[in-house]
Subunit: 250 residues, 2 copies
């Protein structure tokens, strides 16, 4: 079982979109996948068609609730643990010192062992929620949009990750995903070229193209596989899943 | 002097882009404008060409530094107060109870009185930084992208704002800006129609169209007025400034 944080403090780059769609493709291919909505906005649940507020990971971390009772089977082989009602409280925990960063890791201990992959959809910030996700994870996926501010934000993220690796004595496997690529935009191509140059062997081979379909499908609570199974976008995510499983990079 | 929070916890909707470009147009038209980078990512400074890390609003709030010494005149009539090095610390302040939310308001007291407008570029979160911005502001601008998750996130934001208004006994003037509008995308038109239907008189008349120019110009530290003065995008922001000054809504 491997735990993967989908993280980037830059907003709107495609963290939730990547988690929902990559997760679903892997589940369809027979892997056992759990997705954790670790953003108080709760958009991963919405994107998968779960709209009512319900207890989730926050209540496991803060109240010791049993994870098994809160997991929702949202698709075949795909479970969702929603954000819960109190996830925002974790950002403002005052007591507990360094242990505040270990709550998620403790909550996941000895559970989900039957899963192949657990993905954590992170919020666009670098506080205690991000710290908890990083502490609990073995791998990191970094969605990147094809624009300058996303590239500029990456240096901020890598500084944060470096600090974590030093404190935790950990070396994460880090992979970048080009998640909103417009081949007609020079800036998009420049961002991709820059990533390949500075992070050789760490950029996943399949780019996710910018398409209106991915802006529409969360509105129906459907993944791209359900909304437009024959689309280029569905192919993009199938390609990304292959990259993830085989380690194919640019 | 009016203080305006540019806020939306949904990431990547155009908060920083709106603050930089609307601020510059108003300054060009002769208004005295101060912009505060209230996001630890520090992207408002980058978008205006200020790249080195320097002291800013965090040091005013946490160390009592004098605001006048930290203000940068970045364009004619346009001052910038950068994020500073310790802005992230504010999200995790543990002591001080409710006063933790008043630090910005106290820091701005009796300064910037000579300004016409002070805009606060907020981070994509709803913790203590957002609380400080809301406490200090009289008005709120909410940039909205033309996609379903931005619309869904709006209900989350409005819940947060309602709580604030009750606690602070305040009634904010709230205006929505359609900040990444693609007329060829049905979802974009649907989002705009939904906003106009549910928030009559609160959607600013000019929509900011999606254009590669706005994804490029931060890379040169230029606003749209400098990067492509004759473009449709420059016209969009001039129109938005007129809406802001005259109260023109859809
Ligand atoms: N490749 C794409 N093409 C078009 N739209 C996309 C694409 N990827 C994501 N989107 C849309 O862009 C918006 C932002 O994506 P998403 O919400 O997944 O990003 P995020 O990083 O999770 O955002 P946040 O920082 O707010 O959590 C969403 O409305 C989504 O539907
Ligand atoms: N109308 C537009 N057309 C094209 N690109 C845009 C437009 N508005 C903003 N952008 C680009 O989209 C990205 C997100 O915009 P911006 O950074 O201003 O949003 P934000 O809400 O401040 O993000 P964050 O939540 O990370 O603070 C940036 O790279 C910006 O250049
Ligand atoms: Mg998200
Ligand atoms: Mg911003």
């Amino acid at each position: 079982m491997s735990i993967i944080a989908v993280i980037n403090q830059k907003g709107g780059v495609g963290k939730t979109t990547t988690t929902a769609n990559l997760g679903h493709v892997l589940a369809r291919s027979g892997k056992k996948v759990t997705l954790i909505d670790f953003d108080p906005q709760g958009q991963l649940a919405v994107a998968l068609g779960v709209v009512e507020r319900r207890q989730g990971i926050a209540e496991v971390m803060l109240e010791g609730r049993d994870i098994r009772q809160l997991l929702l089977e949202v698709r075949e082989n795909l479970q969702l643990l929603t954000a819960g009602v109190r996830l925002m409280d974790i950002e403002q925990l005052r007591d507990g010192g360094a242990q505040r960063g270990e709550l998620l890791s403790m909550a996941l201990q000895n559970s989900l062992q039957d899963q192949d992959y657990v993905f954590i959809d992170c919020p666009p910030s670098s506080g205690l929620l991000a710290a908890n996700a990083l502490f609990a994870s073995d791998e990191i996926l970094i969605p990147m949009a094809g624009d300058f501010l996303a590239l500029q934000g990456l240096s901020h993220l890598l500084e944060t990750l470096k600090k974590f690796e030093q404190v935790l004595q950990k070396n994460y496997k880090k992979q970048l995903i080009m998640s909103r690529f417009s081949s007609t935009r020079r800036i998009s191509r420049q961002v991709l070229n820059t990533l390949c140059k500075h992070f050789p062997g760490q950029v996943m081979a399949t780019v996710i193209r910018e398409t209106v379909l991915l802006a529409e499908c969360p509105g129906f609570g459907k993944t791209i596989l359900e909304y437009r199974p024959g689309s280029r976008s569905a192919r993009d995510f199938r390609g990304l899943a292959d990259d993830f499983l085989t380690g194919r990079v640019l």
